[in-house]
Symmetry: C2
Subunit: 137 residues, 2 copies
């Protein structure tokens, strides 16, 4: 739809720079989703100097390449995490934010089936459940 195509096959070279390495390394240091700005801070704490713009650009590349998953928080912020950890979803309380991590083989199977049915390959998905927790209702 945009110009994200790649007639040749793979995207250009992609040079392994200090900054890119730093970002992918930090991505290894946590397993949940973090915003670009948080990642930028983590880099700072590590003593790595990487421009915020670069963090955004790198994260963008990585997500295009399918190396990181991207999600949007309720207020529109983008959050990232490296792909393929124990895959799970979140059950979040709308009013107090309490979160429970849940798994469901059935859903995993279902999404794969649906995707296959429509000819989609290399499937992934995001699923968030919202509700009011016992304490808040």
């Amino acid at each position: 739809m945009t110009s994200t195509d790649d007639p040749a096959g793979t995207t250009p070279p992609l040079r392994p720079t200090r900054q890119r390495r730093a970002v992918t390394e930090v991505l290894e240091s946590f397993t949940d989703f973090r915003s670009a700005q948080e990642i930028h801070e983590l880099l700072g704490e590590r003593g790595e100097t990487v421009g915020l713009a670069t963090v955004y650009r790198t994260l963008q590349r990585l997500s295009e390449a399918g190396d990181v998953d991207v999600l949007r928080t309720e207020d529109g912020e983008a959050i990232y995490r490296r792909c393929s950890d124990s895959h799970h979803h979140h059950l979040v309380c709308r009013s107090c934010g309490a979160t429970v991590e849940v798994e469901g083989p059935a859903v995993e199977r279902w999404t794969r089936a649906i995707a296959a049915e429509h000819g989609y390959a290399d499937v992934s998905h995001t699923l968030e459940i919202f509700g009011t927790c016992a304490r808040c209702s």
Copy 2:
């Protein structure tokens, strides 16, 4: 966690003004998701003069009240639609954006069950499936 509480019980009165009526009417005129700005334009086309800020505020109230569903586009824009249409999810091609609407009673049941199991009430969820469509792979 935020200040979205309501010690009294229900949110204040909520006056039925021309603007609010206009917004809910426009919401009836389409069944898919539209951005606040698009809704604002639609209002203009209808000859209704409603401030953009008011559209945002109204949409916010409506979503808090559970009268409209909110979603985030991939680039962080919020899109709205009045609730309770045939509930469905999207299967999106990562590379060309081609989208298919899919349904799955099983998932609906599963999310409700999981939520109940953890004591969460008033459940809703978001689910997006990503993959590479036949044409792109």
